[in-house]
Amino acid sequence: MEAIAALAALTGDEAKAASAAGSAGFAYGLAAIGPGIGIGYLVGKSVEAMARQPEAAGMVRTTMFLGIAFTEALALIGFVVFILIGL
């Protein structure tokens, strides 16, 4: 409530900067949801596979890191957008 009241009191460039900061936070937060779920699922499944077949652990680990790298890229693009908006 106070924050919205404070925003209403701002004018012009200040309001623009404030809304940019807020939307940057939203952009990063939203971008982190999907990859967060994805990486959790991926690592969980990989651990399951490693527990089931410990002799294949090396291959599973390599594939897991590749998958994490691809999934993480989405969250990181969100982070870059966060920086770009925040500028």
Binding site: T62, F65, A73, L76
Partner: protein, 252 residues
């Protein structure tokens, strides 16, 4: 409730030039190349016949890691000729990442756009050249028109393949390395500033002991950054290996 005005991001990346056209990032990059050279130079000077120890053991374990942990897992035995390239890539990225947690340097060189951009463009050129060298013009056909897809679907598949292979790959390599390191740097700055501000809150002495909490978080994150520095170098190298392996041998 504490409102802390965080400095703009370009302010925490600010440093003065050591001399014109040479700044801290350039210093870290040159130092990384120098340290890598010196380590492998010292390792090569040791007697190879006796059991390796010290710097030679360290260098050989990195080589073994590149060969067994990265190349054999992704490219197979044919890719062993790429060991020097991947080895220098891994060492250079790691040595550029690690200054992010070294006191007084406190800046990963890869947290600036220049180095990741250059490295991923280099990897992009290398894997495309490898593709043409191994498959000739069929490389374009194999990568843009994957076999086993109905003819009508090529309208949809070809643009996607083109974007994902030739545009998204260098972009995602760059952004992954750059954003990970910059995010780690910003996290460290945030907690350091928070802790500093709380310790200097002279108006309210009750806040001073609270500053210990972000300090502990800072210590924890510093340890975490050691892991991230290694992991990002590893991921960049293994993705390079995957791309080069995919270009050298068409998928069937």
């Amino acid at each position: 409730m504490i409102a802390l005005e965080f400095p703009p991001i370009n302010e925490i990346l600010r440093w003065k030039d050591l001399f014109p056209t040479f700044n801290k990032i350039a210093l870290i990059a040159v130092a990384a190349a120098l340290i890598g050279t010196v380590v492998f130079l010292l390792a090569g000077r040791k007697d190879a016949k006796v059991a390796p120890k010290g710097v030679r053991n360290f260098a050989e374990s990195i080589v073994e890691f590149i060969e067994n942990g990265i190349i054999m897992q992704t490219m197979g035995r044919d890719g062993l000729g790429w060991t020097p390239f991947l080895l220098s890539l891994f060492s250079f990225i790691y040595l550029c990442n690690v200054p992010g947690i070294i006191p007084f340097l406190q800046m990963p060189a890869t947290a600036r756009m220049a180095l990741p951009l250059f490295l991923s463009l280099l990897v992009w050129v290398v894997f495309i050249v490898t593709g043409f060298k191994h498959q000739g013009l069929a490389y374009i056909k194999n990568s843009l028109f994957p076999p086993g897809v109905p003819k009508a679907l090529y309208l949809l598949v070809t643009p996607i393949e083109f974007i994902s292979t030739f545009l998204v790959r260098p972009f995602s390599l760059t952004v992954r390395l750059f954003a990970n390191m910059l995010a780690g740097h910003i996290l460290l700055v945030t907690f350091a500033l928070l802790s500093e501000a709380l310790f200097q809150a002279e108006g309210n002495p009750a806040l001073i002991p609270v500053g210990v909490l972000p300090l502990f978080m800072l210590i924890f994150l510093t340890g975490f950054e050691v892991l991230v520095a290694f992991l990002q170098a590893y991921i960049f190298t293994i993705l390079t290996a995957v791309y080069i392996g995919g270009a050298a041998h068409p998928e069937h």
